[in-house]
Every structure is written in C-alpha cells, then in structure tokens.
C-alpha cells in the first residue's frame, strides 16, 4: 500500500505555551483503517486539526498524497473529509441542503444521484427533508458523516465517531466504516473505546502527552504485547510453591487449589511444556487447565503507564 499521509516532526504549540504535539512522525498508508488511541488531552484532535487545516502548525511538515497541506491546501483538502467530535450542525437546515452545502464548499458540482446514494447508505434518505434540529443524536452523527463524505474524499478523519452513542448505533458505525474501507477510503479514527480499535482498525497508534508512543499492526501489537495467563487447578492443595517450580514465578490462588503462570505468546518458547514436565517430576497432579489472553485495553493501559 502506498503512503497517503506523512507527518514529519510535527510540533504544535499554543499561545499559552502548551505543547499539544511534540515532534510527531506518522505515516498512514492508503486504504487502511488506523485507530489513534490516547487519553483525553493526549493530542489526538490537535493532530487531526493540523492535518485538516483547523489549526496552524508551529513547525514540521505534513504531506497528503505527496503534497504540502499548507502550500497545496486546496488539493490536499479536496482529498479529506472530516467528522469532528462535536455535533456541529446548522439546526434549522434540512438534511439534504446541509449535505449539498458541504459538497459545494469543496467546489464540486451538484450530484443528486451521489447524494441520494450516500443518504441511503447512511439510512438518512427518509430523513432528507427533515430539519436537523428534529433528528436524534445518532441521526445527527450520520448527517455529520454524510457531510464529510459529500465530496467523495479519499481520506476520512473520524474524531471519536461513536462517543456517546448506543451500542447498536456503534455497531452500525463500524459496519459503515468497514464498508468505506472496502471502497478504498483511508480512515483515521480517534477513539476512547479500545474495543472499537480492536474491532475495526488495521493499525493502532497510541498517543500520550503529544507524543506517538507506538504505531503498529493491530495483530502484531496484540501478539507482541500479549501476555497469556495459564491457570492450573490442582488435585491437591499446595501451601507454598515447591522450590523446583520457583523459577516459573507462579502465583498461588484459591487457597492453594490453583496457581497462575504468565507467558508471552510472542516468544519462541512459552515454558508450558517444561512446567508441566517439572510438575510431573515432583508429583503434583493437575485437575484442569484454563488460559486467558490480555486484551488490547490492558496493553493500552500498560503502555500509557510506562
């Protein structure tokens, strides 16, 4: 996949001397879904704002499709659609007029067929003549997406698209995002919901204090960082961990009826076979075995804490 966004040494400092983004480097590939995770105030929205033209850049360079977002702002902005975090809509306007307005701002000719298809895809067609004020929060969120897609962008920024929406709508949003990816749209979303990133992202970036702590393929990240837990239930209770098993850093639980063993699936050897073999040698019989995998959420918390 070719690179569609390249952020180089980006610094964003506000007038009050707060540095929201610190020397950030990021490359985004065409057609991927990238999820930017981070706590509140991490710099996610500021990063998006600088790429889209809402915020000025203190230093650094941002290229979209090989073009500078400042010098070639017309060409780069034509490629981008933005759905901001807040529901910012003209309350007294009809849905269809609002979407058409957004398309015209991008210098595009009216295309009723495209707009109707878009509204149908977002389940807004029946609401096209409704005043925005009369719509539910979920519908308004869809209108925001329709406006962002009205000029047929190649890149879509979604700033916390499912914040405050119910579970059903969130799942609808995910399916819309996946559908857009299938159509070749590059999607960059920021989210607080780790589950969201886990469900739909190809790559995950973690931002904190204006720095990009990591960016990695989701599967690789989970594999690399994931620590599995092996829970061994014993036939006989143990008072202490036998000396021969101390090297495995086992943790006794359930009043000695079970112990936990932590291992990394990313490593060549997990140590399970030798543990079971050593147990057998000293006559400890197992009753049952369970494994649990670390979630992305636990990985995220670990990275942020580090």
């Amino acid at each position: 996949m070719s690179e569609i966004i390249n952020v180089q040494n980006l610094v964003k400092k506000y007038d009050n001397n707060f540095t929201a983004v610190k020397n950030l480097n990021l490359k985004i590939r065409q057609g991927e879904i990238i999820a930017l995770l981070g706590p509140n105030g991490a710099g996610k929205t500021t990063l998006i704002s600088t790429i889209c033209g809402l915020s000025s850049i203190t230093s650094g360079l941002i290229k979209v499709n090989g073009l500078d977002v400042i010098k070639d702002y017309r060409k780069t902005r034509e490629l981008i659609g933005l759905v901001p975090q807040e529901l910012a809509l003209e309350p007294f306007e009809k849905v269809i007029n609002s979407v058409k307005f957004s398309r015209r701002l991008f210098g595009r000719k009216d295309d009723n067929e495209y707009i109707e298809k878009l509204l149908t895809k977002l389940q807004l067609y029946d609401k096209r003549d409704n005043i925005i004020k009369s719509l539910s929060g979920g519908m308004k969120r869809r209108v925001m997406i329709a406006k962002a897609l009205s000029h047929n962008p190649q890149i879509l920024f979604l700033d916390e698209p499912t914040a405050g929406v119910d579970v059903e709508l969130r799942k609808d949003m995910w399916s819309i995002i996946k559908e857009l990816k299938n159509e070749g749209v590059t999607i960059i979303l920021t989210t607080h919901y780790i589950e969201e990133a886990e469900m739909i992202a190809d790559r995950i970036g973690i931002i904190n204090h204006g720095e990009l702590l990591l960016i990695e393929e989701k599967k690789e990240l989970i594999k690399r960082m994931s620590v599995k837990t092996l829970k061994v239930k014993l036939k006989k209770t143990l008072d202490i961990i036998p000396t021969k098993l101390k090297k495995y850093n086992l943790k006794l639980i359930d009043e000695g009826k079970s112990f936990l063993y932590y291992y990394n699936t990313g490593k060549e050897r997990t140590g399970i076979t030798s543990l079971l073999s050593d147990m057998n040698k000293i006559g400890i019989n197992l009753f049952d075995i369970q494994t649990e995998e670390t979630s992305l959420e636990e990985i995220f918390v670990k990275i942020i804490k580090e």
Binding site: L89, R104, L105, F106, G107
Partner: protein, 253 residues
Amino acid sequence: MNIRGIHAIYRYEMNRSFRTLIQSLVSPVLSTILYFIVFGAAIGSRMDNISNVSYGAFIVPGLIMLTVQMQSVNNASFGIYFPKFIGTTYELLSAPLSFVEIVIGYVGAATTKAFSIGLIILCTSYLFVDLDIKYPFFMLCFLLITCMTFSLLGFIIGIVSDNFEQLNIVPMLIITPLVFLGGSFYTIDMLPPFWQNFALLNPIVYLISGFRWSFFGVGDVPIFTSIIFMLIFTSICISIIWYIFKTGYKIKN
C-alpha cells in the same frame, strides 16, 4: 478560485434571510416607514426647507444610510458569528477555500441584503415624498460601497465577538449613536459651532453627506472628502480582516 465554494456560502446566507424574511426585510422597512411618517409627514410638514429641499425628502438619504449601515453590520456579524457559535466553522476551514473566498461569500451576501433593503426603502420613500435624484449612478455606487464597507466591519465584529452580548455592543453602543448623530435628520450647520466641529470627528457624517450629495447635489462636506473618507474606512476594514486571517486570530487554534 473556488467559485462554487463562494457561491455555496453566498446562497446559504441568502437562504437564511429568506427563511427569516420578516426579520430580514419587513422589520427594517417597517421601521423606516415609521420614521417617514413621524419625521417626514408629522414633524417635517412644520419644518422649513433645508438647502431648498423639503424636510421629508431631505431625510431620505439619511434614513437609507441609517438602515443599510445597521443591516450590513448585523447581517455580516451574525452570518459569521453563528457558525462560530454552533461550531460549524470547521467546515469552512477544512474546505479548499481561501480566506478571501470566505470573506467574499459572507460579505457579498450581507452586502446584497443591505443593498436590497436600501433600494426597497428608496422605492417606499416615493410613497411619502417627492424625490428627484440628481446623480442616480453615483448614488447606487455610493450605496453599494457603503453596504460593502459596513458588511466588512460586521464581519470583523462577528469574528472578534465571543458571545451574543459582544456581538451587539458595537452596533448598539457605537454605530447607532454615530449614525443618529451623523446628520441623518439634520445638517451639521444646524448645530451650535462647538458641536459642528465635534460632529466632524464622526466618520458617519462624511458617508451621509456624500450620499445626500448624490441626491441633491449638496452635502455637509465636499464630495471628494466623503469619497476619500469612504476609501480610508474601507481600506482599514480590509486591512483588519487581512490581519485576522493571516494570524488566524479567533478563527484557528
């Protein structure tokens, strides 16, 4: 140039006026008609002619200026402030539009609205007074430039304002008194000598005088002074807007 983008803003703003037709059009026209009735017919019939012009006809340019200046400022300031208030300026800033194009869209719409109201009031005035415009082409140009300049001023007010109170402070506390004291209903030489000199510090005097000159061929100050003043005022407004967009003041983070 993104002509479709400019047109989108212009059309959107004009549609907003049509949605609120009573507030946008009927209200200012009705207010002006009341002025005609009170000052033109009731009080004016007992007043002497001024510069060989009946008092009813004399106040027509002043009343038009009074209305278009207020309308230009109000329309343009609200036009840009409302998107700021509801947070939709992100659309303008993330679209392939230059700052000049954004200004043309908003100021163009506010100018059109104010200019149209000015013409409607002019037509309405014929119902109340006999009016003969000496320099009609100049009058239209002067009216248009006034509408544009005050729309630029309104745009600045809309950008700078952080709340609805601030949005109304400049029009209510500065522009309205200046317009009323700028010779809308009298000539400067009707004032005592001290106040005549004081009145010349009021920039609106030059605009009303220039506009009145286009109607009757006479004004409080020479027409070239009015034109130069108008150009200076327009240049100041354009410079401030240029600075705002160059620095992103109150627009960009």
